[in-house]
């Protein structure tokens, strides 16, 4: 079974500052890893995904994430946040095709002016 831990439930950063949202996973096999974003009262949108290869993956809107097998982590980063980035961010893991996608509890990001 796989699981995801997002240790920071609420994060507040100033507009223009850098951001890191942490994600630790547990999986018996090399997982597929995802970051999703959920804006208020909306569904989830995929930011980026990692299957294999280069451990740093680029996503939409300037987001990137780095996979670390040794640390079992998949942290999300952004160099300069904008107020419109305020949302809830979910890290998710699966074992691949058709298997269950397990989500972390989410991190609510607030970008202050």
């Amino acid at each position: 079974a796989q699981s995801v831990t997002q240790p920071d439930a609420r994060v507040t950063v100033s507009e223009g500052a850098s951001l890191q949202l942490r994600c630790k996973y547990s999986s018996s096999v090399t997982p597929y890893l995802f970051w999703y974003v959920q804006y208020p009262r909306q569904g989830l949108q995929l930011l980026l995904k990692y299957y294999s290869g280069d451990p740093v993956v680029q996503g939409v809107n300037g987001f990137e994430a780095e996979f670390s097998k040794s640390n079992s982590s998949f942290h999300l980063r952004k160099a300069s946040v904008h107020w419109s980035d305020s949302a809830v961010y979910f890290c998710a893991v699966s074992r691949g095709t058709g298997s269950k996608l397990s989500f972390g509890k989410g991190a609510k990001l607030t970008v202050s002016p």
């Binding site: 995802f34 909306q42 569904g43 979910f90 699966s94 269950k100 996608l101 989500f103 509890k105």
Partner: protein, 112 residues
Amino acid sequence: AQTIHQWPVAEIKAVGSPLSLGCTIKGKSSPNLYWYWQATGGTLQQLFYSITVGQVESVVQLNLSASRPKDDQFILSTEKLLLSHSGFYLCAWSLAGTGEVFFGKGTRLTVV
């Protein structure tokens, strides 16, 4: 381009009343389909998944049922709602061979 449509957008229902939520995926043939539930402010929990018409697997028991009457349609239902059914229901799809899951805009259910 593929689209996923969920209906209704929101529902307010009484305890003990029936419920039917729907989801349609257009532009993809034979997708894997999923229902997720999200408590207010909470994480997402997978409820059901289906890899083909007429075949649905339950992941958790919440006194809900799901059916896939057509390749592009996924229905979530119950005959008697409980207060604990309140939350946000998300339909999602993926293609076999990828782990990527795409979500609909969700249905907000309030049971009173």
